[in-house]
Amino acid sequence: MDLGLNEEQEMLKKSAREFLSKECPKKLVRELDESDSGLSRELWKKMAELGWIGLPFPEKYGGNGGTLLDLIVLLDEMGYNIVPGPFFSTVVLAGFTLLQAGSEEQKQTYLTKICSGDMIMTFAITELDGTYLPESIETMAEAKGEQYILKGTKLFVPDANIADFLLVAARTGKSTNPADAISIFLVDAKSAGVKVTLLKTLGRDKLCEVVFENVKIPSKNLVGKLNGGWPVIRSILRKATVAKCAEMVGGAQASLDMAVSYAKERVQFGRPIGSFQAIQHYCANMVTDVDGSRFITYKAAWTESEGLPADMEVSMAKAWTSEAYKRVAVLAHQIFGAIGFTMDHDMHLYFRRAKAGELAYGDADFHREIVAAQLGL
């Protein structure tokens, strides 16, 4: 057994903490949160130069040849600092899909551009009901000569408003099992008939509605096998789920750190509020939640990263972390009192993300159901 990070991962963690606190201060986080795009081109370019965007991708596509676990270490820090922008969609959702299912030509064309920071991409999966089940995909792609005609509406698509290309999950036939007729397409966001509307959400995380009105897609933009999309999506969702957990662990850690240092400083009744047992117990509950989430997330990430069956581990991590981060953020708010209830304070940035993270890729109930199934129930 080895339950620690390796040397490179420790370095990555440390340099990410330093880089982000300098290059992505809360002032910028706030500006981006309040903007429509959520993107700082400057920061994006710097992250590409650091090799972060290509971190888990092979060197032949301009990547850094790292593992999923390496990426998890970075996402943990990104969650700690909060880094608005399309990193998650581009790297986790789109990058991994291309790597796993894309043709060599698609990888050469798109993945290299992603790694160099020249292309922003996302994956449009969910629709009106917002669930991650194959039957909820109703968007249709109909073959017509050398192209497909795409029709339908996607909801909660992250960063579609700034994406150059979208991966889209669409139905390409009829089947008794709804998972059997789903395919993935690469769609140029500038194609005629693509309409993107930014949704205003509690998390301010740039989720979009994307309407496809008879959008023409060249046949060569099919990613992976025709009707073979769902197994790919499942595998990508598993990675996205554990990746989201990592961000959430970082955010929970930051909430804890902020609250503990405030509890040491803030004086009421002539003593630091951290000297009241009520507050101490809150802090103790928070650290227990943070550590539990971190352990279970890293176990899941390692399992997935090693290519071992990870459905159970990943769902355990998401079911737990979804609720743990929320508990931590709520307690942190409680410790801050009124000052935390202001736009100018940082705490709500985390509280919002705890909710958005909980909802992304299945909430606690959804994942407990998977755990139950894995347990043979």
Binding site: K200, E209, Q268, F276, K326, Q334, G337, T342
Partner: protein
């Protein structure tokens, strides 16, 4: 015992309901984003709406704003239970009408104020002419109000006030501050603090907005620079303000928009009854059913406590411990209701008001953020627990 409303109470309830449905400004309730228990999305803390003023005056004419006060002071001579019924219906329909002046300051003036003070202020409060804001908290005095540093010194017939208040909800749309300041720095705070009314128009007052996490300008910081306040505005005796404040805080904690809880809960119930997910109604999902029934139980307990406190007041029992209990229970419920609603509604729940796909106009999303304030404003949950344990159960401080 009899847990039912009497015939007279039922009639009154119907009368209130009819009034609200008739008088509530058109479209008001459709825009309202108030979250029960929260302090951050109260429309009346944000703007001064003439339509709201009008309905308040009409309530004033009926003696409803101060219905449980003695008739000699323009009160309605009604019971506290009737008042509770009134507020329950009011909050159920998102109707305006509640105000610091009628709920907190007025009752405190009646209890401790001089005849002169009563004569000057009570009739205007009864009519619904005035809006008050609470000037208690300061940057270094939140839970620990004894630590306030704002001070007032006597100068002839006036007090001269200097200092800063913060988290002052609605200060920018109010007429008067209901303020505590130190008047005897040599004495311990509970013997050197005075409670008084300060006119917002007095020279030397600067009000600066603070935007809350829902994005609303509901509260402020307020600076006092040599502000003159006539000494006749002092409530009760000089230097006794801390005691009056404790009573005023109890009045504040008894202000619960019970009907708001019920209404938002019913919204959620209807949503679950009418929304299909994964091929079946949410209301058929065992987890949803368990959460909804748990909420129903908690709301029932809150209602019982709500009427119990009113009933106690009618029977000359002052609900001091119960005030903390109901504050604690309902503000925790505020969060649970928001959280449960968000979880039941899933992804859509995160959509903000204005978004076409937002369920229930996005009220739960706003409430989800706002509910964080419920457990902090008017005395945090920890302070309520301390009161319950120490004052209520006699447990030692150390």
């Amino acid at each position: 015992m009899d847990f039912r409303f009497s015939e007279a109470e039922k009639r009154f309830r119907a009368e209130v309901e009819e009034f609200i449905l008739q008088e509530i400004p058109p479209g008001y309730a459709d825009k309202d984003l108030y979250w029960p228990g929260g302090y951050g999305a109260i429309g009346e803390f944000e703007v001064r709406d003439p339509a709201v003023e009008k309905i308040r005056k009409k309530m004033g004419e009926r003696g409803w704003l101060t219905m449980a006060w003695p008739r000699e002071y323009g009160g309605g001579g009604r019971s506290f239970v009737e008042q509770a019924i009134f507020f329950e219906r009011l909050s159920y329909y998102d109707a305006p009408g509640m105000d610091v002046s009628t709920l907190i300051s007025g009752p405190t003036i009646l209890r401790f104020g001089s005849e002169e003070l009563k004569k000057e202020w009570i009739p205007r409060i009864v009519r619904g002419d005035l809006k008050f804001w609470l000037a208690y908290s300061e940057p270094n005095a939140g839970s620990d109000l004894a630590a306030i540093q704002a001070r007032a010194t006597i100068d002839g017939d006036d007090l001269i006030v200097n200092g800063q208040k913060i988290w002052s909800s609605g200060a920018h749309v109010s007429d008067c501050g209901w303020m505590v300041a130190r008047t005897d720095m040599a004495a311990p705070p509970y013997k050197g603090t005075t409670l008084f009314i300060v006119d917002n128009k007095s020279p030397g007052i600067t009000i600066r907005p603070i935007v809350n996490i829902d994005g609303f300008h509901s509260f402020n910081e307020v600076f006092f620079d040599n502000v003159r306040v006539p000494k006749k505005n002092v409530v009760g005796d000089m230097n006794m303000g801390f005691y009056y404040l404790m009573v005023a805080l109890d009045f504040e904690r008894l202000v619960i928009s019970m009907g708001g809880f019920r209404h938002r809960y019913e919204d959620l119930l209807n949503y679950a009854r009418n929304t299909r997910r994964n091929g079946r109604l949410l209301s058929e999902d065992a987890r949803v059913r368990a959460r909804l029934s748990q909420l129903a139980i908690e709301i029932e307990i809150a209602y019982l406590l709500y009427y119990k406190t009113a009933w106690m007041m009618d029977n000359n029992l002052f609900p001091n411990i119960e005030a903390s209990e109901i504050k604690l229970i309902t503000t925790l419920l505020s969060r649970k209701l928001a959280d449960a609603g968000m979880e039941i509604m899933g992804q859509q729940a995160q959509l903000w008001p204005g978004s076409p796909h937002a369920p229930l106009r996005g009220r739960f999303a706003v409430g989800y953020l706002d509910s964080i304030s419920a457990v902090i404003g008017a005395g945090t949950s920890e302070i309520q627990r301390n009161i319950l344990a120490q004052r209520g159960l006699g447990l030692k401080r150390r």
